[in-house]
Amino acid sequence: MRPVPAAPRRAANWLRPSQQNIVFALFAVLFVIFSIFLRGFLTADNMLTLLQNVAVLGILGLGMAMVVIGRGIDISLVASLAVPPGLVLQMVQNGHSLPFALAAAFALSLAFGLVNGWLIAYAEVPSLFATLATGLFLAGLGQVALFKLDVVQWSPGMNALTVIGQGNIAGIPVSVIMFGLAAAVVTLFLRVTRLGTYLYAIGDNPNAARITGIPTRPVIVLQYVLAALIGAFAGLVMAASVNSMPTRIYNSTLIYDVILVVVLGGIGLSGGRGGVVNVIIGTLLIGTMLNAMTIMDVSYSGQNLIKGLVLLVAILTDSFLNPRNEETAQQGDI
């Protein structure tokens, strides 16, 4: 005759020590400190640079967030960012029309997402290993077969696409607006559509989702397809803003920054938790940190050291706040 346990009294939502709120407070504190003590931080110019620099990271973060909410991880995201957009640039350079090049890149992204999804949902390869392998494959394929040079240059035929990476609308850099746009689309997908709800259900408890009658495997495939497409979109924005596609970006530490954004923002690696707001908060914090470190002239290695530390702290906090299997230990196994 156990009584119904009393629900813990809830403090107002914004006061609760969720990771999201901790990170946002941390961002605010850092921002104020840098503004006061770091010369050249709080200038209009620098703010624009900051936003522009993190826009691509933010878009990638959205793709990663969807996968992580569905209890997976997509290490191949940077390959998705580099190769299909690189293909667009290369094909246009070679004289194909832009729509045709875009269609080819779209098909490549789609196929890539489907392969990832099939490996993870149907062949049941752990997402970490599946995407590690496919990412390597795609990046290698690009370098071996698709691109002539490591950096694919922007050609005049691409000019119709310049608008998504360069210039301002009402004083806001276009790349930031693209991030906003992607964030809006992903928000709608996650909150309003049936499939978005399924994604949360699968991340929360894949077995229960299956038994409830949710087609778990197709939804998992979908999440990797969406991630690949978002990655390609981020790549196009990046190529448009720097006027080229440095395909060697695959070998950089960008993927760690993306994971950093997602985990730091409070999207639990155990799945089913968090949303677009978390990506934005994570992006802001990382953007501020990276920008300040650049102004302070911290070396590349020093930056890695700091990022590594922050990621460790974030993952620790995550497993502390969102322990996996908190209740799966069977009670009274008689």
């Binding site: 009584p3 049936r194 989702a209 009658g213």
Partner: protein, 498 residues
């Protein structure tokens, strides 16, 4: 012989306030083979886990050779000379027999040749026919058990506890196992073994203890027992004292045949089983652990993950229905309410309403692209009211509810899908007393409404209180069918044990 080597006095173990064993007295003599029998949930495993230091007593005392002890870990129990051989093997499959034997006792310089020679000599001294260099993963069930036993003896165990040792063995292997047990006895080791197989208990044990509902019923010399007396002791409870109310006086008539399973075979658990389920009545399915009840119905509902389907037919409304995933089964009106709600029942980060809404959404499938918050709340509130889910605030997450309320949420999530065939697997496991009656009322109401209801339970009083018709499963088959009026606990139990 002096006093007992192991003794428990007034042993009580509670899990979250519910007693798994209560005031049990138990004594084990030197060089004795002691069988422990009882239904599922009678407390056999808990009792032995207490001895092996896996769980600690809530109250009561434990003595070894007259000295009071309280092992808190299996390691402490091992130092006291108690070893337990679990149902699930605790050996490392990728290591050799010898490595497993000496696991945890390796010297700093762990010379392979040395341990192989030592293992060889040791196994020979026990007369065990196992090659010490063989990988444990490659051994059969019986040999694995030998290695486990050898390890226990190597650790100087004076008391060895076996949990269902013969469940996975073939008849020849069983015979060999019994020889091993006698050999242990000759060496002065005391053996406790848990078994569902009464013949085995009668055949090899010196004494038998029967447990029921966490309490000690009787301990006596084996020669004073026969099958009937054991069964009587296992089930002979006073029904008015159970939580489940009295047994049924009337049985509902069978309606239309909804489901028919013919010669279904699946993996090692389902062996050529056939059964029918009818509308408008409750079919109780009883069986002990390993009888394949859950697996059979998981095949029907498309839940079983790995496709080890070997043949047979499932007919739903006379049409062939072989589901590989649950989604199409749900669309055709089959709901499976899981026995393990924490692992595959509910979504713990979501509110009650959202859990139920997900069931609705999954049923609608493609017909609904967008979700609506208002609809979530309406559906959630309606079902919370219908099933009497008690929660403080509707935004409470499901993990924060009591077991009974969690179960109601899981049931609501299935009922919102408007099934005609509802399979309840252990519907009141881990459910608080008040909620049991409510869930039983609900199950009865569903049958009155003309749905075909299946209740799988390993608790006889629950079967007796609910079923209009009882199917008994044993070793992967439905072996017996009773109407509610002719069924008695003794008859059912008799059919269920081998």
């Amino acid at each position: 012989m002096s006093g007992p080597i192991l003794e428990l006095r007034q042993a009580t173990k509670k899990y979250a306030g519910v007693a798994a064993i209560e005031e049990v007295d138990f004594a084990l003599n030197q060089a004795e083979i002691h069988a422990l029998v009882g239904e599922n949930g009678a407390g056999k495993s808990t009792l032995t886990k207490v001895m092996a230091g896996v769980v600690t007593l809530t109250s009561g005392q434990m003595f070894i050779a007259g000295r009071e002890v309280a092992p808190r870990t299996p390691l402490e129990a091992r130092h006291l000379g108690i070893a337990m051989v679990f149902q699930e093997n605790s050996l490392v499959p990728t290591m050799t027999v010898a490595q497993n034997l000496f696991l945890g006792q390796e010297k700093f310089y762990n010379r392979q040749r040395g341990i192989y020679i030592a293992a060889q000599q040791f196994l020979q001294s026990l007369n065990f026919d196992v090659v010490p260099t063989a990988l444990v993963g490659m051994l059969g069930a019986a040999k694995k058990q030998m290695v486990e036993i050898a390890r226990a003896v190597l650790h100087n165990a004076k008391i060895i506890i076996f949990d269902e040792p013969t469940a996975t063995l073939t008849p020849e292997e069983k015979k060999y196992f019994f020889d091993l047990v006698f050999e242990l006895k000759r060496r002065g080791v005391s053996v406790i073994f848990i078994s569902h197989a009464l013949e085995e208990a009668l055949q090899i044990s010196d004494r038998i203890t029967v447990l029921r509902d966490g309490r000690h019923v009787v301990t006596d010399d084996t020669r004073n027992f026969d099958r009937a007396r054991i069964v009587q002791a296992m089930v002979g409870r006073d029904l008015s004292q159970t939580l489940y109310g009295s047994r049924k006086q009337t049985a509902r008539r069978s309606g239309r045949r909804v489901l028919s399973v013919q010669n279904l075979r699946m993996g090692p658990m389902v062996k050529n089983t056939s059964l029918s389920i009818f509308a408008g009545q409750i079919t109780g399915v009883f069986g002990l652990v390993g009888a394949g009840r859950t697996e059979t119905f998981k095949v029907v509902a498309g839940v079983l993950k790995r496709d080890m389907f070997h043949g047979g037919e499932v007919l739903l409304h006379g049409r062939r229905a072989r589901y590989r995933v649950p989604a199409p089964a749900i669309r055709d009106g089959i709901a499976y309410v899981t026995e393990d709600r924490k692992v595959e029942g509910f979504f713990e980060t979501m509110s009650i309403a959202r859990n139920i809404y997900l069931g609705w959404l999954a049923r609608l499938g493609r017909r609904r692209m967008l979700v609506s918050r208002r609809e979530t709340e309406t559906i959630g509130e309606a079902w919370i009211k219908t099933l009497g889910v008690r929660a403080i605030g509707k935004d409470v997450k499901v993990v924060e509810l009591s077991g009974g309320n969690q179960q109601k949420v899981v049931i609501a999530k299935s009922l919102v899908q408007e099934p005609d065939l509802i399979i309840f697997d252990e519907p009141t496991r881990g459910v608080d007393v008040g909620a049991i009656a409510e869930i039983h009322q609900l199950i009865n109401r569903l049958a009155e409404e003309g749905k075909a209801v299946v209740v799988i339970s390993s608790y006889l009083p629950e079967i007796m209180a609910l079923s209009d018709r009882v199917l008994v499963a044993r070793q992967g088959k439905i072996v017996e069918e009773f109407s509610a009026l002719e069924a008695t606990e003794e008859k059912i139990m008799y059919a269920a044990i081998h």
